[in-house]
């Protein structure tokens, strides 16, 4: 399995499988993501979408198969190492530090002072605050820097988590249901945000909201029972009878 030919893709998942107590959550999956591509994964509940992201970011270990990032095998690395390779992950439920301020949330995500002593002697210099300010503006939180994160609205928490990823300047950004629970205007802003931040990076999004998917997706992958049911541009996928049957139909 390690004798795989290299590809031109940024991210290449080949023959990836994982099962939980005998239940195959991801089953021989092959997925390739290009540089600067926005890829959306859709599929019914329990299809294995979150699990795919978990596998890529090291939260879950695969049973078999390979995960290559720029042709480098990453499936054996731990979470922080994968982050340092340039992969950022947003969780399905907003995962931020509620007790800290927005500024501090962003600051902890700033890619410097990652070891213990680096953190102990970390200096909040102008380079850091400029970058934090810049990212806060891009995620619409520049007026809330001093606010405790717990006090943000649900949508703002989602943006904050995206901001925490942007600070790291990842080459691949993975977002699990970024607009879940957002109002319509927040959704539009988020779509605009994603289209803006994707210029220098690839984005892998899991999303149920079809309107949002249409707004952002370059290519859509439909997952069902851990396997790929269909893949292609939005129109092709939406007219695929299998997809209509298992997912879009209801």
């Amino acid at each position: 399995m390690s004798i795989r030919t290299n590809t031109d893709y940024m991210l290449a998942l080949t023959d990836l499988s994982v099962s939980f107590d005998g239940f195959k959550a991801v089953d021989d999956l092959n997925l390739f993501v290009d540089e600067n591509e926005i890829r959306v994964i859709i599929g019914p509940n329990g299809a294995g979408k979150t699990t795919v992201l978990d596998l890529i970011c090291g939260k879950t270990r695969s049973d078999s198969g390979s995960i290559k990032f720029w042709n480098e095998e990453i499936s054996h690395l731990n979470e922080p190492r994968i982050v340092h390779k340039g992969i950022g992950r947003k969780f399905q439920t907003p995962s931020i530090y509620e007790d800290l301020s927005v500024f501090e949330n962003l600051e902890l995500s700033y890619p410097r002072g990652h070891d213990v002593f680096g953190a102990l002697f970390f200096k909040r210099d102008s380079e850091v605050s400029d970058r934090l300010q810049e990212v806060a503006e891009s995620v619409f939180l520049e007026d809330h820097l001093d606010k405790q994160a717990a006090l943000l609205s649900h949508g703002q928490k989602q943006w904050l988590e995206i901001g925490m990823l942007l600070i790291q300047n990842p080459k691949l950004l993975m977002l699990d249901e970024p607009v879940a629970g957002m109002s319509i205007s927040e959704r539009e802003k988020t779509a605009e945000l994603l289209n803006r931040i994707t210029r220098e990076r690839s984005v892998l999004v899991v999303e149920h909201d079809m309107k949002f998917v249409e707004d952002i997706a370059h290519k859509v992958t439909v997952l069902h029972q851990g396997r790929i049911l269909a893949e292609g541009d939005m129109d092709t996928v939406q007219n695929n009878p299998d997809v209509i049957e298992v997912y879009l139909g209801h």
């Binding site: 922080p80 990652h114 001093d146």
Partner: protein
């Protein structure tokens, strides 16, 4: 972020109150015996401060901090014991020149383990190095495997139990259940006199200040905020690119080092070290000191320690059988009614005094106050160094006074 000035102002005021109490009020009002008692209590405060960082901020509950207190204390005790076991002083033994309990156990030669403790330098190194190394090994074994929460607490408790059994069992090497007793001099200086005890009391305060300073440096650094982040969202910290295990190992080692300093000072002031200070019960009591002080408050931990010990001494003098119930009740009360402990009470008192005059919520340079009723999500910002709530500028005096009120009677 422009609260730097308010922070140091607030901080200095609370620190000044504490120093006023410890270095002036208590030495003037208490007799030598009582002052020595306070000095002994203060050595436990080192453990409680370690717990503020480790448990309060980082969420790592260790029920075995007595282990590190004990290791530091034993290292010091071994040095002092060797010093008082000169061949002249022990001439009546069958092997003169070794500690008396070794002689009673038919040991005829100083065990290799004891040899480094003939040197003051090696002893001082060992007081820190032995507990820190031990904490490091426990930390690597546990945190790298992602053992946490209740499992970690139980394992630390087991370690405390095992170490106690080991010390009691190896009587010839450790002095067994009696511990290492009859310690007389430190580098030729008699530590048993009232004068020496008073000096040692001030030495303890000096070290306490050092430890408070270090704890505050950590809690105000980015590492302090990371600890809070690890407590609340461990996974997110990993996915922000940090090795969470290393952070936990570090803070656990720091807490061990603080405890060990306390242990060594305990031995000096009290003149003995025994396994009763290592085991499960003292370890849990130390967690209670920290909880009473307010878990997140470094200075609160000191007040908490003093208050609980003062209560313990007065209660067990009059009703010895009631103390354990009292302690249990206290713990429950703190958890249920005052989850932020003394620091929380002091801060809300401070707020009550200030509210009519100052509208904190709308003050632009202060972070937004949060709902105080939610115990689990204690607010914390970069500015939080010793109090659970952040809005208490002039109110800090109350923080000191509330603690002091309980202590003066000790």
């Amino acid at each position: 972020m422009n609260f730097a000035n308010t922070v140091s102002w607030r901080h200095m005021l609370s620190m000044a109150c504490l120093l006023l109490l410890l270095a002036i009020v208590l030495p003037i009002t208490l007799d030598a015996f009582r002052l020595n008692l306070v000095g002994k209590y203060l050595t436990y405060a080192f453990v409680a401060i370690g717990l503020v960082l480790c448990w309060g901020m980082g969420g790592i509950l260790s029920l075995g901090q007595g282990v590190f207190f004990g290791l530091g204390g034993y290292c010091m005790a071994m040095f002092l014991k060797l010093e008082s076991s000169t061949p002249e002083a022990t001439a009546i033994q069958s092997t003169p020149g070794i500690p008396d309990f070794m002689d009673w156990n038919q040991i005829t030669e100083l065990p290799a383990l004891w040899i480094p403790f003939q040197s003051l330098t090696l002893t001082l190194i060992a007081i820190i190095a032995v507990p820190v190394l031990f904490a490091f090994l426990i930390g690597v074994a546990m945190f790298k495997r992602r053992v946490s929460g209740v499992y970690f607490a139980i394992i630390t408790q087991a370690i405390a139990a095992i170490l106690t059994i080991l010390i009691v069992g190896q009587q010839g090497y450790t002095g067994g259940v009696n511990g290492i007793t009859d310690l007389r001099t430190f580098m030729g200086w008699d530590i048993r006199s009232d004068g020496a005890k008073t000096v040692l009391y001030f030495v303890t305060i000096a070290f306490l200040c050092l430890v408070v300073f270090m704890a505050q440096f950590i809690s105000r650094s980015k590492l302090g905020r990371l600890l809070v982040a690890v407590r609340d969202q461990e996974d997110r910290v990993r996915f922000s690119g940090y090795e969470v295990a290393n952070i936990k190992i570090f803070i656990f080692c720091v807490a061990a080092a603080f405890s060990a300093i306390g242990g060594a000072l305990f031995t000096l002031q009290v003149g003995f070290m025994s396994p009763t200070l290592v085991g499960i019960v003292p370890s849990i009591e130390m967690v209670i000191y920290c909880a009473v002080g307010g878990r997140l408050s470094i200075l609160g931990a000191i007040y908490g320690t003093l208050l609980v010990n003062w209560a313990k001494t007065s209660l067990s003098e009059s009703f010895p059988e009631l103390w354990l119930f009292g302690l249990g009740a206290l713990f429950i009360a703190v958890v249920m009614i005052f989850p932020k402990g003394l620091a929380g009470v002091a801060n809300s008192l401070a707020d009550r005094f200030r509210k009519p005059r100052l509208d904190v919520a709308s003050s632009p340079d202060m972070p937004t106050p949060v709902d105080d009723s939610n115990a689990s999500s204690t607010p914390l910002t970069s500015t939080t160094h010793q109090s659970a709530t952040r809005h208490s500028r002039p109110g800090s005096a109350v923080h000191g006074a509330a603690g002091a009120a309980g202590d003066i009677g000790a």
